[in-house]
Subunit: 368 residues, 2 copies
C-alpha cells in the first residue's frame, strides 16, 4: 500500500535545495513506497532532480516563489504563508494534498505557520517539538519541547507531559511511560515556580493521566535509560539537546586526538575501528534527525538546519513512520481518553505566568 | 611562604566527612604549604583525621553542632548561620581566620550565607558561580552562572559578563577575552527579552569594558575553543553543564560497551589504553571540580555534592590557587577599572524583569 505524499520544503536548511533533494532521494531509495511533493523554486528543484531519476519519478513539484529566511521573525514569515515554500508545504497538509510536511527551515516560523494553518488539538494550547533521543536503556526517550516555545507556563508543561506520554505509548508500545520534568535538582524545592507547580499538578493527576510521573530529572541523567519522557520548556530543552550534541562531538574529537597521539594508540585505533564506527553511528545527530510538532491537527516534521543529506533522509523516514502509525489520530484519541481538555488554559486570567509578549516571542526558538 | 588557611566545610556533600577529609588530605599531600580549618562535628572529624596524620598536623578543627541539609531552603539555612558547618566556614573567611571556604553542601544555602556574610562587591547585585571547563582550544573557558541564580535579569547577565571577563583576564592572562551569551540561536532575534537586552547593552559598552563581546553562542559550540567566557543564567548554565557531563559519560559507557562487543575490539582497547586513559582523565568531572562565587568580598569555592576525594582535592587546589592569585582583590580592581558600578541595578524600578519572589527563589539552584 502506498502512503500519502510527503511534502518537502526544498528551500529550508543551511544548505538548501541540493541537500534536501539528496536527502529525499536517499530516503526514497530505501523505501520505494514513498511519494513526494517537493515545494520550492521550480527550476532549481527540477535541476536538482536531474541527478535523482528515482526520486523524480515519485515526485511532483509545487512551485513557491518565496523563501522564509533563517533569521526572519515568525510574525513576518506568517504574512507570506501563501508564497513561501514552508507555508505551501504546510498548506498541502491542511488541504490533504500531503500527509506530512518536512522542513529544515526557521523553527519559529515553522511553528507559527503550522499552528495557524493546522490549529492545535482540543486540550492543547501550544504545540511542542518532540524528538527521540538515544539512551543506554532498551529504547530511545521522548524529549520535548526542544525549541518551539522559548518560554512556557505551568499549563504548557503539563500539556507537554500528556502529549509526550501519548507519543511514548504509541512509538514504544508502553502502557504507563515514566515521565519526568527537567530541573536543576531532584528535590521538590528546586527550580522555578512553573516547574514546581507543574510537578504538583502532575503528581495529583497521575492516575487519571495513565502515566507514571516520577518527579524531576537533572540534565546529566537524561540518557541513562531509566525515563521514557523528559519534559521541559523550549529554551532549556534546546540548550540541553545542543549541549549533549556538542559534548558528544567534543569527546569524539578528543578521542581522535588521543588515538593519534602515539603509534601504539594508532594501531589500537585501527584494530578497534568497528567499535568506534558503531560509536560514531550512535552519536551522529544526523542519525537522530527529525523532530515532530506534537499537538497539531496534522503532521509537521522539523529537520535540523545543519543536517546532511543522510540527516534529511532520516527526518523523511521519521515523517513516513509517523504517517504510517497514524500519529495525529492516535495522539488525539489518547488526549481525549485521558481528559486532557481539563488541563487547557482557561484564558488569560490563569494563575500561571503571563506568556511572553506576542507571537514573535512565543515562537522565536531555533529547533532541534 | 605559607598561604592563609583553607576552611573546609567537612559535613557537606553526598558522602560527608570521610570524603571531605580524604580530599583535603590528598590536596595536602601534593602541596605541603596548605593549612586547614576543618569545620564540623568535632568527634567525627577527629576520628577521620586519625587516618591522615599529614593533614592532622596542618589542621585545626572548628566545632559546628549543626549541618545544612541538601534539600533545605536557603532562608531556613540562613537562620542557622552561627551553628552550621557551612555558616561557620564562611564566617571564618569573614573574620580573616581563613582565606577561603570550600563546601560541597547545598548551593542555594551556600550562596545565601556567603552573600549575607561577605556582601557583594561594588557594582555587583548578585554573585555568580563560575567554573573553568575543558575545551578543544588552548585553554579552559570560564562559564557562569552555573546554578547560583535560578532566574536572572538583564543587569545580572551584564554583571556576570563583566566578572567572567575579569576572571578570564586573571587566570589566563588575556587582554580582551571573547565573551558570549548562551542562547538557543546565534541570530539577534533569538531568545528571551533579557538576553536580547543584555546583548545590546554589552555591544554598546564593549569598548569601555575591555573585552570583546561576540554575541550569542549555542550550547553545542561551548567546548570548541573559540570563546573565553560563556555567560548564562543559573538555570540554563546548570542544565548545559550537567547535559555535557551526562553526554560525556554516555559516550564513555557506549565506548566501553562497543569495545567489549568483539574480541578484536577488546584487543584494540587494551592496546589503546593510554589514549582512553587520557580521555577518561580529561572527561572526569572530578578533574574539573571547584566553582568559585564571583562578586563577593571573600573567596568561597563550591565542590560538587557528588565529588570523590579526588574531586574534593581538586576543589581545594582551585581554592588555594585563587587565594594565591589574590582573586578577590584583583576582580574588585578590575571592576573598578572598567566602571562596573555604572551597570548596577538602580533599585526595583529598573526596566529589567522583576526578580523571582524572595531570597528563597533567588538562590534555590543546585550547583556545579
Amino acid at each position: 500500500m502506498s502512503l500519502p505524499r510527503i511534502a518537502v520544503d526544498a528551500m529550508g536548511g543551511d544548505e538548501g535545495v541540493r541537500v534536501m533533494i539528496e536527502g529525499a532521494a536517499l530516503a526514497r531509495r530505501r523505501h520505494d513506497r514513498f511519494k513526494f511533493l517537493l515545494v520550492g523554486e521550480e527550476t532549481r528543484i527540477a535541476q536538482a532532480l536531474e541527478n535523482h531519476p528515482n526520486l523524480k519519478a515519485a515526485s511532483e513539484i509545487l512551485h513557491a516563489p518565496d523563501v522564509v529566511s533563517g533569521d526572519e521573525k515568525p510574525t513576518q514569515a506568517l504574512r507570506r504563508a501563501k508564497t513561501t515554500s514552508m507555508g505551501l508545504a504546510i498548506d498541502a497538509v491542511k488541504r490533504g494534498q500531503a500527509g506530512v510536511a518536512v522542513s529544515a527551515g526557521n523553527t519559529g516560523a515553522l511553528m507559527a505557520m503550522a499552528k495557524l494553518a493546522l490549529r492545535t488539538m482540543p486540550g492543547i494550547d501550544r504545540p511542542a517539538l518532540a524528538a527521540l533521543l538515544p539512551t543506554l536503556g532498551e529504547h530511545d526517550l521522548v524529549m520535548l519541547d526542544l525549541g518551539a516555545n522559548t518560554e512556557c507556563d505551568t499549563r504548557n508543561l503539563i500539556q507537554f507531559a500528556i502529549m509526550g506520554a501519548a507519543y511514548a505509548r504509541i512509538v514504544h508500545g508502553l502502557d504507563a511511560p515514566s515521565v519526568r520534568l527537567l530541573n536543576i535538582g531532584s528535590e521538590e524545592t528546586k527550580g522555578t515556580d512553573n516547574l514546581r507547580d507543574a510537578a504538583s499538578a502532575l503528581k495529583a493527576a497521575a492516575e487519571q493521566l495513565a502515566f507514571s510521573f516520577d518527579g524531576f530529572i537533572e540534565a546529566d541523567k537524561i540518557s541513562r535509560g531509566n525515563v521514557d519522557v523528559v519534559v521541559t520548556d523550549g529554551f532549556s530543552g534546546n540548550i540541553a539537546l545542543k549541549a549533549m550534541e556538542g559534548a558528544a562531538r567534543f569527546v569524539a574529537d578528543l578521542l581522535r586526538r588521543s588515538f593519534s597521539s602515539s603509534l601504539r594508540s594508532k594501531f589500537g585505533f585501527l584494530i578497534s575501528k568497528p567499535a568506534t564506527e558503531l560509536l560514531k553511528h550512535h552519536l551522529d545527530p544526523n542519525n537522530h534527525n527529525g523532530a515532530v510538532f506534537l499537538g497539531l491537527n496534522g503532521l509537521v516534521v522539523k529537520s535540523h538546519g545543519g543536517a546532511s543529506a543522510l540527516g534529511v533522509a532520516h527526518a523523511v523516514a521519521v515523517a513516513a513512520r509517523l504517517l504510517e502509525e497514524n500519529l495525529t489520530e492516535r495522539i488525539a484519541a489518547d488526549l481525549t481518553r485521558v481528559g486532557a481538555e481539563a488541563f487547557r488554559s482557561s484564558g488569560r486570567n490563569t494563575k500561571a505566568q503571563p506568556q511572553a509578549a506576542g507571537a514573535e516571542q512565543e515562537v522565536s526558538g531555533e529547533g532541534a
